[in-house]
Amino acid sequence: MSIVNAVTCPVCGCLCDDIELTIADGKVAQVKNGCSMCESKFLNYISEHRTKTPLIRKEGKLVPASYEEAIHKSAEILANANYPILYGWSSTDCEAQRAGVALAEEVGGVLDNTAVVCHGPSILSVQEVGIPTATLGQIRHRADLIIYWGCNPWSAHPRHLERYTSFTEGRFEGSEWKSYINKVKASAGRKKLLSLERKGVLKQRYEPPVQTVSDNKPPATLSKEGRKLIVIDVRKSMTAEMADYFIQVEPGKDYEIMQAIRALVKDQELDVDEVAGVPVEYLQELVDAMINCEFGVIFFGMGLTQSAGKFRNIDVAISLVRDLNMRTKFIIMPMRGHFNVTGANTVFTWQSGYPYAVDFSLGYPRYNPGETTVVDILLRKESDAALVVASDPASNFPRKAVEHLVKNPLIVIDPHMNVTALVGDVVFPSAIVGIEKVGTAYRMDHVPLPLKKVVEPPEGLLSDEEILLRILEEVRRIKSQRKEAA
């Protein structure tokens, strides 16, 4: 039995690098410090849902095959395709992503990563208006106002608050966990009293308040000392429950409310009483809190990028931060989902010049979101083959897009039998990056971190990078053979 310290968790964009693993009999036996998703990944990495050999679809059924056979079949599919798509890349290391760029260029395909259905709109906005940002370390030590807009880190980045924002002990700002615990205790007490009143043990003092959407009144906690946490969302998520102030916005109206806040930051008067269901006087209190902080940060998520307005929502959010910087120090950061989606954008950019949706079909990289984005290509039914690496578009794309993906030859490289692998034509199992293979990944603030190998992969399993390089080699061999024959 051995203990491995300072393991980087390969699950979400937080890339927590303080995980402690106990290894017994060559397997992970215990996980310390991790969130439930981290634990789930480290404890279930070897399960019955993991494929042990490559599979090839024959007569409608996936049957086991050798790596050589599967690599040859994949190389043939890609070499024969006119307009293949190479998609995924966010849950693997930068080394595999680099091999992916080379392969995309060789086969003249479209290279796209999961940012397209995640923070693609954020990238578009950053390209238009720039981004004032910082590392998570700076936020941890200095931020005294934390705003989560359209994101729910309690579910998607469970340790974000604990490691980087409200509940962490920074050099200049303290942790707010005690005040949160007090709030939870008070709320539990209130619930007990209400229950006793319902049972008739206590005399009913007041009617329990009926919660409504416009119940957005700023509570006293908004003017407390220390770090403040504000959550802006369309529904009360668990993160909103923890917040000092929660603002519930009507769905699809984030753009409106942000423009209103921008006007208030610039001391302009609004001639309406409420915006997106929130009274202007409440917004004024929010703006006061924003202007009066010393170091504010807005984290934003899918609530902005996937709802009406999409990249325009991010435009205006970044513009708001720019306006706030005339009054105080403010920064903004997207909450990146997969552990290395930031790495995918970075690797693609340094290799091709563009962060996602890179089209190599003309022999040089071309980037035109809306045209060269994978979802649009699938909806227009243009692609004639696909290679999916470390992602699950069959589960994450709208049905119409998946229909076309499934119609054409589909190669899948993934450690697990995910939904895309179930409908794939050639399926490669691979070693899990960060557990069975070393690698590099980029945290959501663009800090690269090393991923560790803690156990040996099942016998004979190759890594994503090795599989991609071997497919590339085979594609080159097939092409040179054809040239000679011609």
């Binding site: 899918m302 984005t373 909806l379 939904v419």
Partner: protein, 135 residues
């Protein structure tokens, strides 16, 4: 309890939940993943209007298709006129594929209709794939 025959017009939101996150890391074929992605969070008031309880099956229909899910009461605060389905093949069978020319489908904000469907089964992953894609 009376069952409302008519349909309720709502806005469909899809997104993350911690159970879905744990399920996806454990494996997409697991029971945990199935249970966490085949639910539909609804406002308590809206559930009352439809005359349904926790775990009653509902049929959610959009212009892009329909799917049967388990209705679950949203535990915190009100969200009238909204339903929230965790990301997964079931949610994506009905979300809007309108990418507004920037590559991003409209995963949040698709107009939808919900109706009570206590007798219709929730399809398993394999059944859903067979129905949607024939595989």
């Amino acid at each position: 309890m009376t069952m409302l025959k008519e349909k309720l017009k709502v806005t469909l939101l899809t997104g993350r939940t911690i159970e879905q996150g744990v399920g996806k890391e454990a494996g997409k074929g697991t029971q945990g993943y199935f249970e966490s992605t085949t639910m539909c969070y609804m406002d308590a008031g809206d559930m009352k209007k439809l005359g349904i309880r926790n775990n009653t099956h509902v049929k959610v229909t959009t212009p892009n298709g329909s799917v049967v899910l388990r209705a679950v009461k949203h535990a915190r605060g009100a969200m009238p006129g909204m339903i929230y389905i965790p990301y997964g093949p079931w949610a994506n069978a009905i979300v809007s594929n309108e990418t507004t020319s920037i590559g991003m489908p409209s995963f949040k904000g698709t107009p939808a209709e919900v109706e009570s469907a206590p007798d219709e089964p929730v399809l398993t992953l394999k059944e859903l794939l067979r129905k949607e894609f024939g595989r």
